[in-house]
Symmetry: C2
Subunit: 334 residues, 2 copies
């Protein structure tokens, strides 16, 4: 390890395939043509939204297996996470599969964590093929972290909209694959004292900046090494603030930065506040739009940087602040 | 990967040190002479038990650094988990350290998960020195998963007592260290339909049996390869049942099996039901008693098998069953 960054220098960690299942609202957004599947409704005839989210998570993994003609025995491990208490969605989803399971939690940065742990297993020759999956659901996250939906609470200007959906990345030990995961910077927990559970962007921004600066230092790269530096779910206001603050420090990412939370919805017409958020946000954007445009070589070097706000209802009620974390993973067409 | 088992065949994943902080009740139990630190009270002048558990988790990591004369920069990553919603104890503990962090959750099997991910990073040369830490607290877990403590609810015969404490294992890329982690079997989520949140042993037993049988098959070993097969927190009744069921299948572990939940308390005098449980249970027993007795060569080959019950309050209220998971990690004096 050079400081915080690990290098998958065996050049063997490839993306074999991706899949996504987007919720109805996400399916009406600007990325609709990129999603593999779009749901008509988000309750799926289940008795609760938690059960619906579990069903979506199961469907994403099953779709990945089916479209590749694979069964459980072709997958060495699933690395999965979600936003619910005790990550019950991932745990209950994995009841349906006869596949080893490791549950991960770094809030909305869990997708990065899954990719990093999966890549590390493959890089070291411990596993050959793994699935990294995450999910989130507007209706499970809102009522767990904020208010009962039935209250119809007015949304604040800096709030974001939790993305409904699930997605998987299948990683393979295969030097022939065109898109590789080449290195990763593992983030630290950073707390600037934000207490507003409706302003996730502010809570995660310091962590995103710290991880990005560390990544550039550890790799001796300038930002223009990348075609795209893609944060997970800072939302619009925090994204703009990040670019401004970085510019003051001499790091210009104005032209190459984007945010999955901004990309996934049409902020003008979809009433989503600052944009999307949630464990599925960076997952759905990366596994659909970004991966497909990397296959088309529109993007060749992408720094994917999912961000997480490490809070819980209990912590909020105990007046705790909300720390953030961000992990960066470098994805390259090689 | 040979089926579910990964082999750290570079023979470079060593245990550099361990530390434990046990709660007052644990400190009165049979392992008291093995713990590194014993608390006088379990609230530690904090305003909530959640904050107290966080303080204990911080203290364990700090103790590990201090006794080795290390600072944050000597540690590549902390892999940590706990039982609370959104693993807030681990996340908030990591605010105090300028160290990269990955949060893990497989309930009480999270300690195994931390050891496995940490070992994988070291085996592959991605990291040189990591800390694997977990914590739990009777008073945070009971009120989150079961009843408010103030109710004084009568405990059922099959209930267990969540262990209060935190511990760390420091792993190092160092072929010279006498105690190594040599392989691991990653468990699957297994659900036999148990619904009683006061009978964790029954929920986890099928997963423990599955992982053990898989481990023996994958490694072509007989149980007597080990001096000790140590489950995490099945408790007394489920441990006895496991031995009986395995014997029926021709696998005799009668003389070499023990359970951390049984070892950590004196069941006769401490009113703990079937024994201890919690993310700290296998951690405290392994990092004190087992590690010290491995250094003394009383145990030379130990299969550590933390078990987890994958439930949440929401899932219980929605009448879900409780699936289990167990991971096995082979620790050897070499």
């Amino acid at each position: 390890m050079i400081n915080q960054t690990i290098f998958f220098s065996n050049n063997n960690v490839g993306i074999a395939d991706t899949t996504t299942i987007a919720g109805p609202k996400e399916g009406e957004g600007p990325l609709k043509k990129y999603f593999h599947n779009i749901l008509d409704d988000d309750l799926l005839n289940q008795k609760s939204y938690e059960k619906a989210e579990t069903k979506i998570h199961v469907a994403a993994i099953r779709h990945m297996l089916n479209k590749n003609g694979m069964t459980a025995k072709d997958i060495d491990c699933v690395f999965a996470g979600d936003l619910l208490d005790e990550i019950i969605v991932s745990s209950y989803a994995m009841r349906e599969f006869d596949i080893p399971f490791m549950g991960l939690f770094n809030a909305c940065a869990s997708f990065a964590e899954a990719l990093i742990v999966g890549s590390s297993m493959i890089h070291g020759g411990l596993m050959n093929r793994v699935i990294c999956s995450t999910s989130s659901h507007f209706s499970t996250a809102e009522r767990q972290f904020r208010f009962p939906l039935e209250l119809g609470t007015q949304r604040t200007p800096l709030s974001q909209w939790t993305v409904t959906g699930a997605g998987c990345t299948m990683l393979e030990n295969n030097p022939e694959l065109p898109i590789k995961l080449t290195c990763a910077t593992i983030g630290k927990v950073i707390d600037y004292g934000v207490k507003d559970a409706n302003d996730m962007g502010a809570a995660m921004l310091p962590a995103a900046m710290d991880t990005l600066k560390t990544h550039l230092k550890d790799t001796h790269r300038n930002p223009d090494y990348y075609d795209l530096i893609l944060t997970g779910d800072l939302g619009d206001a925090a994204s703009r603030l990040m670019k401004k603050l970085l510019k003051k420090e001499g790091i210009d990412i104005e032209e190459i930065h984007d945010d999955c939370g901004v990309l996934i919805f049409n902020r003008e017409g979809q009433n989503v506040g600052q944009g999307g958020s949630g464990t599925a946000c960076s997952n759905l954007v990366f596994n659909s739009y970004i991966y497909k445009e990397m296959l088309n070589k529109r993007f060749k070097k992408v720094l994917l940087m999912p961000t997480g706000a490490l809070m819980s209802k209990t912590a909020s009620l105990q007046r705790e602040t909300i720390p953030g974390i961000a992990h960066a993973i470098c994805v390259e067409v090689v």
